[in-house]
Structures are given as C-alpha cells and as structure tokens.
C-alpha cells in the first residue's frame, strides 16, 4: 500500500471522484495551473480540463454562490476556499443559502456540494491564516462539518462528503498536511460521516478532540501515563456535526472523566456543545467536572502561537484537574 501524506490523499480522493462521477467539478482561487497554494488540486486541470477544474476570480462570495447554483442544477461542486479565514465574504451564501435551501424548498432542492478549506494554526500564519471557525458551521443547521486528522481518513471522508446529498464543510488542518504519513489504499473506499475514531484506548479519562490536536493529546496521554500511570483514551471526532455522541458516551461509561481539546477559542466554542450535551443527558456518568483545553478567546496571534494553541502542558493541566478532582 502506498504511503501518503494528507495532501496526496486528498488529491487522490478528488481524482478518483472526478473520474468516477462526471458531475464532480472543482473550483476556487489558484486551483488550476497553480494546483492550489498547498497543491491539493495539483495536476487535476491536466487530467480533467478547464471546464471541470476552474480557476475563479478572487471572490469567496462568488465561488460559493456559483457552486450553490451548480449544485442546484445537478453538479457536485467541490469549492476551495484558499484559507478558511477568507470564508467570511461568503457567509451570507453559506448561512442563508447553502445551509437553508433544502428547508426553504420543503426538500424540493438540495445543495450537494463540498466547501473544502485549509484551517487551523501551527504554521506561523497569523490571525488571517490560522483560524479554527468550526463552531460557526456547527451552529448553522443544514451543514455537515468534517475535519480529518490522518491521510487515510482525509481520503475516505472527502469521498463520503462529495457523495453526501447535504452540503459539507470540509476543514483540513494544514499544519499536518505533510507531517503525518501513513499507508493509504490506492482504491476506492469511504469513511462514514458522523462516526468518530478511537485513536488510543484507556480506562481513566477520555479526551475528545479532532484535527491536529489529536497529536497534542496523544503526547499528553503518554506523558501522564509515564508520570502518574493514568490511562487516557483519545477519541478523534472526525465529523464535528452531526458528532458521534454514542462514541463519547461509550467511552465515558468506562472512564467517567472527560477532557475536550480543540484549537478554536473557548467561549461558545465546539467544546461547549459537547460538554453541555453530556452534562444535560449523562451527568450520572461523570465523577467530576468536564475540562476544556482550547485556543484562548483572542484573535489568533502571530507571536507565541504554540502557547496560544493547546499544548502538552495545558492538556496536562486539564488532565490533572480532572483526575485529581
């Protein structure tokens, strides 16, 4: 089986889906000749031509609005937003249309499109190349929100997203685009939307996380195991909405302790939803408080980003708080 990084796995997913289904088109800024600024769409224009791999003018509003129109007509557009930080110009189209067309038309129309975009921090990208805005999308009824953490999942989840009849926001943690490599099957497969992945088994405490924070959580898990003998279970949520509540509950039945780790800011962030759901419905499973380790409630800083993002020390502090309650 070939070893791939996430960029290569995503590229293969697009290539296979475009070959399999002539309705799949790719559009966005610099996705053609340039192959995307991170090269996720490299070579697609040579294989599928300018009618299916479309370099657009510089307008996120235009890209998403036009992709919605394409999806209404029957195509399966995969629209790239160069950095998710630039998506806000398209917010009206996303919130008022992409998310609501099925409901507004009583199910008569749907928008089977994917908005894929590099997200998150860790590359010294500053405040407009590092954001983790998944909560906005999770909060918007009608959207599915996905974030892979491995090349295998990236390929399988992107293919499942392209085949979904509902619109998908597909967020790609760019700091691990090339750093994580693994064997990825050269054949067609999908990873189901809405299903979490058990990354590490443990008995004492559950970390629910996603994206690049999976790796920070694993480091912290190793550290506390060595230092204190605590056994940490790590769950990669993969689909952020609809999230796999059953996987979290099943884990908590065993560990009875919950820590949520994400890069997005804390206040009204994605962790708040998960913590509230568990507290509302399964408080009896918990031995103590839920802890969140998150980006701080500030814009993403250019300096000291590793201190801003959840790091091994901050996850350790949260695990300690929950374990020693």
């Amino acid at each position: 089986m070939p070893v791939m990084n996430m960029v290569q796995a995503l590229n293969q997913a697009l290539r296979e889906e475009m070959a399999r289904d002539p309705r799949v088109v790719v559009l966005g800024e610099d996705v053609g000749r340039r192959g995307g600024v991170f090269l996720v769409t490299e070579g697609l224009i040579d294989e599928f031509g300018e009618m299916r791999v479309i370099d657009t003018p510089l307008s996120e509003m235009g890209i998403i609005g036009v992709a919605i129109g394409m999806a209404l007509y029957g195509l399966r557009p995969v629209a790239e937003i160069q950095f998710i930080d630039f998506v806000y110009e398209a917010f009206d189209q996303i919130v008022s249309n992409m998310a609501k067309i099925r409901y507004r038309t009583g199910g008569m129309y749907s928008v089977p499109m994917v908005l894929r975009s590099p997200c998150c921090g860790g590359i010294r990208g500053g405040m407009h190349h590092s954001q983790s805005p998944e909560a906005y999308f999770m909060h918007t009824a009608g959207l599915i929100t996905v974030m892979p953490s491995t090349p295998y999942d990236a390929k399988g989840l992107l293919k499942a997203s392209i085949r979904s009849n509902d619109p998908v926001i597909f967020l790609e943690p760019k700091s691990i685009y090339r750093t994580i490599k693994e064997e990825v099957p050269d054949r067609d497969y999908t990873v189901p939307l809405g299903k979490a992945r058990l990354v590490r088994e443990g008995n004492d405490v559950t970390i629910v996380t996603w994206g690049a924070m999976v790796y920070q959580s694993l480091e912290a898990a190793k550290l506390v195991e060595e230092k204190h003998g605590w056994s940490v279970e790590v769950i990669d949520l993969r689909t952020l909405f609809p999230y796999d509540k059953d996987a979290i509950i099943e884990s908590l039945e065993k560990t009875e302790r919950l820590v949520i780790v994400h890069e997005a800011p804390k206040t009204a962030g994605p962790g708040a939803e998960i913590a509230a759901y568990i507290a509302e419905n399964h408080i009896e499973l918990l031995r103590g408080p839920i802890a969140r380790v998150t980006g701080f409630d500030t814009p993403f800083p250019l300096v000291h980003e590793k201190l801003y993002m959840p790091n091994i020390a901050r996850i350790y502090m949260a695990l300690k708080k929950v374990m020693q309650y």
């Binding site: 800024e29 192959g35 307008s59 630039f86 804390k266 814009p299 000291h304 091994i312 020390a313 901050r314």
Partner: protein, 378 residues
Amino acid sequence: MEVLGSRDILNLDRALGLYRVIDEDGNPVAGEPSLPDKLLLDMYTYMIRARILDGWLLKLQRMGRVALHAPNKGQEASAVGATLALKREDWLFPSYRELGALLVRGMTEEEILDRALTTIDDPLKGSDFAIYGHRKYNIVPAPVPVANQIPHAVGAALAAKIMGDKIVTMTFFGDGSTSRGDFHAGLNFAGVFKAPVVFVNQNNQWAISVPLKRQTAAPTIAVKGIAYGVPGIRVDGNDVIAVYTVAREAVERARSGEGPTLIEAVTYRLGPHTTADDPTRYRGEEEVKEWERREPLRRMRRYLISRGLLTEEEDKALWSEWEKRIEETVVKVLEKPPLPPEVILEDVYEEPPWNLKEQMKELRESIRLLKELGIELE
C-alpha cells in the same frame, strides 16, 4: 432620456488609455509636467529605499526571522507616486505591498523592521504579518483579507466630510481585490456620497496565479469606476511622475468636494506573490523579463540623468548611502528582544473581561509547567 450626473464621469478615454510622462527608457513623452527638482529626486530616493528594504525583508524571511513577506519589487512607483500627492493630515489605507507609501508618509525603516521581526518595539504588538501602519502617520494597518480596507477608506472620507475636515483618504489594493464585494460596495458608496477618497488600484497583472484576463472581462480596471459614477483614470504605474501627476489631480478633486476617483496604476509584480509562492508554476520567464525592462527605478534614473539632475556618481553614492543606513538598522533591530508571551492576551477589549483574566492565569501556569517539564515548544 437624459443621463443623470456629470458627463465627465463617462470620459472613457482616460479610463481606457494609459497616461504616461516618461517612456520605458526614461525619455519624456509629450506634455511633461514641470515639477520641482527636489520632488523628482525625492521620488527616486523613496523608490531606492523601498527597493533596498524589500530586499532585506525577503532575506530576513529566508533566514527565518520574518514570518512572511509580500515582495514589492517592480511596484515602487505607484506606491511612492500616489502617496506623495497626499498632505500630512490625510489618511492612508494601504494593502500589504506598499513599503514606498509607508516611507513617504514618514514611517522609518526601523519601525517597519520592528513590525516585520515582531520585536519588543513592534508598534502593532505581534499582530498579523506583512501589515504595517501607525496612528501617528495616519496609516491604518491593513486587514490581510484583500479589499476589506476599501469601504473603510470610503467611511473615513465620508466622516471627514461630515465633520467638515478638508481631509482626503487614499486606499491601495490589487487587481484581485476588484472581484470582491468590498470593492463594489466601496465604490458605489463613494460615488453616491461623493466621498473625498482616492482609490489606487495596483494592477500588477497577477492575483497569485490568476492572470488579469481571468479576473475581469472588462477592458481595463479603471473603466469599472464609471458604472459607479466614479471617474476612472488609467496610468502607467511604473512611471512615478505620471502616477504622482494623476494622483495629485485626484486628491485636489476630492479636497475640493468633487468626489472620488479610481486610479488604475498598471504595473507588474516582478517577484512571487509572497515568500510562500512559486511563480514558475504559472508564468513564463519571457513575460517577467519583458517587465524587468520596464521597471520603475531604471527609467527614473535614466530620466534624472538625462535632465541633468543626477550623475552616475551621485546615483551610486545614493544607493550605497541607503544600503549602509538600512543595513545598520537591520543589525540594530535584529538585536532587540522579542515580545513577551502576555501580549497574545492583550488588546482584545479595552479592559479584559473575566475570561481573559482566567486565561492569563492559564497561560502563565502553562509556561511555568513547560519549564518544569523541560519542554521547548518553538
């Protein structure tokens, strides 16, 4: 049916033509304006300073000391020429590729380098990369999402008008920006309210890999102003005298209450979009060579020498003087300490709410713990 408003606005000739004072080899074209010698030499000096500083920022990025740089090379004339038409009390809303404009407004190389290297003296305290500005120079630091600043320049101009100040605002943006909603909303508002604003489009032919013909089907960018009731003037953006002349007219027009102007400065980005870009993936060497021949410093130098305002020796001395001064500044700035970690939690609100106070404790505790564990994060 009568067309409302002034017919001058529909002057297509200026929006479709190309105003030029000196040709590509530095020879004056017809109608050379008479400008003071000192101003002509200042134009050239600012461009030299911008070119040298740009080279240093590129080098410092390669050394890992600057996070990212958007090279200016080839575009010095439009930034310098346009801002020289402003008065000190006027306001500037730049984008991220106008080092020359910052220098003209009075920002020093040291302030720019403090920013780029996020030293303890960084006036923007470690905020985003590739953006510059300072309240004391009436330069509002740009947002990195392109075109966002265009409506801001319109709003500030309108505010000045409402408050009765004879202030003009100027904003810079690229060809890619003209596809975004902010550009269209900004021009429309400016036209409707006759805001005293000058829009300077640096049409450098490429928005990363997307060429101008893929950005717009309009014959020029200047022509886009006309539909909003904003006169459009197309100018050779590598001819600093031409840019200055057109900008001065637009600034005077704005100050006298006649409203906004859209200037399209036709130029070329000789370098990559940013230090993270590789232009060989999308454009040919031939084209770049062609534009290198037209670059603004070479032709201004030729012009000044032919006018007897500069000798070869004086030119060499000018370059080496600024090379030395800027290198000394770089050495000085490289020695400065970095910003402390606490800055990342400051300036979110005027006074930090409770959550940020809690998070400050968390930050400090995590720094202590990292030390205790002997872990280096960066």
